[in-house]
């Protein structure tokens, strides 16, 4: 077996790769395409819009002028009725003038960033400490903890949703706004911590302990040795774990829908998207534009983090 490639084989392989990539990327192309199409173009199967329509994006990002909503003539007549008390008139007018068709995308995005970045950051800190402990320290029950860490991850969210919500109710957290927010943070951290710990633990095991010992001989405490030697060497894995936790939080719908239902000011993007789908504002270009904008941070985040993901950082430190 020389691994010699024939022309036919090469073409076949290339074709398979292209097919696979297309299959993965087509949904995204569809989202992008629809978000840029005018209404008359929606039925057109072509991915390229006949005329570019950026209105949906402008609207979502709040770049359009606030539309003055015309009060329908019939309603105007009611409002003109002098017998109607002023406060009733205001209430009716407000119902029609209020710009509730506007989708406060920026706010949802900030909420999503707060939850996912916050939870990912805290999760990462705990994961570093936990992973270091299970990979380096010897203590009673170490193996049990190490193995049971992943067990948490095996239990699906749906199973735990109701008991978790009940627990949160019982201790009174779910009845306040901030309590619910804290609950959701805790849930995201607990959900992401096991895998983060597992990935980091394996990575730490690959860093020779002699490097830490060398740092200790050079005058570092153990904590300093971790900060100055282990963490810089683990940057690729730290970035990976951070992105993993971030994406879990960013896309999470189930728990957010339960805990944040009553608190629209804390709604995250997945929740808001779901609401957008079923609202009277469910217009294709707007839904797709919102989806696109929800996707974007993940892609940016990944591109940014991939700079840290260059492997082989521990090469050359030790021999043998």
């Amino acid at each position: 077996m020389l691994g010699k490639r024939t022309i036919k084989g090469r073409i076949g392989f290339a074709f398979a790769v292209v097919m696979l990539v297309c299959f993965s990327l087509l949904p995204f192309a569809q989202i992008l395409s629809t978000s840029l199409k005018h209404q008359f173009d929606w039925g057109n199967p072509s991915l390229i819009p006949q005329a570019l329509n950026l209105n949906a994006y402008k609207e979502l990002l709040g770049l359009t002028e606030v539309k003055k909503v015309e009060i329908p003539v019939a309603i105007q007549k009611i409002l003109d009725n002098p017998k109607l008390p002023q406060d009733k008139k205001d209430a009716i007018a407000a119902k029609y003038v209020a710009n509730d068709n506007l989708f406060p995308f920026g706010k949802y995005m900030l909420n999503s960033i707060m939850f996912s970045v916050g939870a990912a950051f805290i999760s990462l800190i705990f994961a570093v400490m936990g992973a270091y402990a299970i990979s380096r320290l010897r203590f009673k029950g170490q193996v049990v903890i190490q193995r049971s860490v992943l067990f948490v991850y095996m239990v699906g969210g749906v199973l735990l949703m109701v008991p978790l919500y009940q627990m949160a109710m019982n201790i009174g957290l779910a009845s306040t706004m901030w309590g619910s927010v804290v609950c959701l943070f805790l849930i995201y951290i607990v959900q992401t911590l096991p895998v983060g710990m597992y990935m980091l633990g394996n990575y730490f095991r690959g860093i020779p302990f002699a490097l830490e010992e060398a740092a200790m001989m050079d005058g570092c405490s153990r904590t300093e040795a971790i900060i100055k030697v282990v963490l810089p060497l683990s940057l690729p894995m730290l970035a990976t774990v951070f992105i993993y936790c971030f994406i879990i939080g960013w896309n999470e719908y189930l728990f957010a829908s339960v805990f944040l239902k009553q608190y629209p000011e804390f709604h995250t993007l997945p929740l808001a998207l779901q609401e957008l789908f079923v609202s009277k504002n469910a217009i294709w270009d707007r839904i797709m534009a919102a989806s696109m904008l929800t996707l974007a941070p993940i892609v940016v985040c990944f591109l940014f983090a991939s700079r840290f993901m260059k492997g082989g950082k521990t090469d050359g430190g030790v021999k043998g």
């Binding site: 020779p208 002699a210 490097l211 010992e213 060398a214 740092a215 200790m216 001989m217 050079d218 005058g219 570092c220 405490s221 300093e224 030697v229 810089p232 060497l233 082989g312 950082k313 521990t314 090469d315 050359g316 430190g317 030790v318 021999k319 043998g320």
Partner: protein, 365 residues
Amino acid sequence: MASISLKNIVKNYGKTSVVKNIDLEIEDGEFVVLVGPSGCGKSTTLRMIAGLEQASSGDIVIGDKVMNDIEPQHRNIAMVFQNYALYPHKSVRENIVFALRRLKVDEQELQRRLVEISEMLQLEELLDRKPADLSGGQRQRVAMGRAIIRDADVFLFDEPLSNLDAKLRGHMRTEIGKIHNKFGRTSVYVTHDQIEAMTLADKVVVLHDGYIAQAGTPMEIYLDPVNIFVAQFIGSPSMNIVDATLHNDYLQLGEHKLPRNKLSAVSFDDEIPSEGQPVKVGIRPDFFNDKKYFTQSDSSFIFEAMTIELVEPMGFDKEVLFNLAGASIKARLDLRSDVKRGEKLDLLIDLSRVLLFDTNSELRL
């Protein structure tokens, strides 16, 4: 600068005892080499001095301070690791000055020391490289530099040369010797290579199975080993050990009778010389000589017409193998002997170099 004293050091891992009882005094400025086969506890002892392992019992005193519960970073000890343990994410320069930066040493002083050390170890060209871009020998020099740039009380070396090829090892051995002469710091050096032990040490400590078998100057260890283990461990090729019988006037070694009164290295106290007692005879290969090129003296003994079974030329000297009293014996002869395989040769030894060991305890008589 500090002396080190190890008092009844014991180290157990669970039920296995690695270091069983070590009592050792190391003087200020002394270069001590701990040597022994794998698993004898030499590295563990070193790591206990460093503070990387905690002794199960006993005291470690450095200077006049008991160090048992002091963390490694507060012991002011520099260490060179067997696998170098350079920080892969830092340049050579940052690797070397890492400890100084931590101590917040004045920048000018830091640069001065960096220049001095990098000149001494020929690292000037490499300062901006990462460890991954260095060869084994270069990495070794960086590891040395990182240790000696500090103003440490004690230097520890954990088999620093074992990963280098033979030629580089010889070179670095000389360099370490020079560095010690220049700085004169108390040093503890662990190796399983007896040549490193012999050449570098002020004091060699031979460890065996968690105990100190013998401690002394290299020549003491070489000429006056306390038991068969030390005798065979130090010296290359290792000492020949042959079974013999001790009689009132002579030592019966195969068909040879060695006059007992000339065995000046043996102290016969009253209990030993019972007639017909079996003993083990130790003769270093280096003490055999070709009779043709050696003048006999009063204490010489000649093994006549030994049949040479094998000749291994080594350059300046050659090792020859022959049979004596049923054992295969190695002798090291110099350039002048041109003996061939199968020839007969008269071999001369100085009886004052012949050692006797007890058959059971394997201790020197």
